[in-house]
């Protein structure tokens, strides 16, 4: 029996291509490295950071934890629009643009 995968159950935000993600990362207002961190810490840190940003500012969270790519956008809710970039080798960047 095949091993289950997060990709089958986690609802990712819209995905960015490499070029768009790279450009967005360079213009990011704040980048948080959440590699190795698990629920609920990334959610808490995202909400705190978003609260301090201005409309249009971008927060980026880097993670290796697939569930966070769904939980973090849900945690900030309507305060930010979320996109995700996948490296293909287990790294993800969640982009949160403050509304």
């Amino acid at each position: 029996m095949s091993q289950p995968s997060w990709d089958d159950v986690v609802e990712l935000p819209d995905e960015l291509d490499d070029e768009t993600a790279e450009a967005l990362l360079e213009d990011a207002t704040e980048v948080q490295d959440m590699t190795g961190e698990v629920c609920p810490y990334p959610q808490v840190e995202a909400k705190k950071a978003i609260a301090g940003l201005d409309a249009g500012d971008v927060l980026v969270q880097e993670t290796d934890h697939v569930p966070s790519t769904e939980n973090v956008p849900k945690a900030v809710g309507d305060d930010a629009t979320a996109k995700v970039w996948k490296s293909g080798d287990g790294r993800y960047r969640v982009f949160l643009r403050k509304e």
Binding site: M1, S2, Q3, P4, S5, W6, D8, V9, V10, V38, C39, P40, Q43, D64, H65, P67, E70, N71, K74, A75
Partner: protein
């Protein structure tokens, strides 16, 4: 949709011995205090660990800090072919933040 069980119901079913608890928190948090009899499978290890667990017809409930990633854990377990369709794989609503009942301490029990 994932079924959510209130901590009260989880506690009752744990006392009755008719549910299996999967604690998806890191080992340090698990060892500091967990639902009696819970099995510790940190969330990041779940995909690779699920096939190694001997699933039977006992219902399962996943528990995490706040009751959010436990829903994802429940969906992942349910998606595994080795878990029968009539086995309920639920999530504990509110997570350990809402758990006011007995806790067990110490290292992980075998899955």
């Amino acid at each position: 949709m994932v079924e959510e069980l209130a901590p009260e119901e989880v506690n009752e079913r744990v006392q009755n011995g008719d549910v299996r608890v999967i604690d998806t928190r890191p080992p340090t948090e698990y060892e500091a205090g967990h639902i009696p009899g819970a099995i510790n499978v940190p969330l990041g290890d779940l995909p690779s660990t699920v096939p190694d667990i001997d699933w039977d017809d006992t219902d399962v409930v996943c528990a995490c800090p706040i009751g959010q990633s436990s829903k994802q854990a429940a969906m992942l377990i349910s998606s595994y072919e080795g878990v029968e369709d009539d086995v309920v794989v639920a999530s504990m609503a509110g997570g350990y933040e809402e758990w006011d009942f007995e806790l067990e301490t110490g290292a992980a029990a075998d899955a």
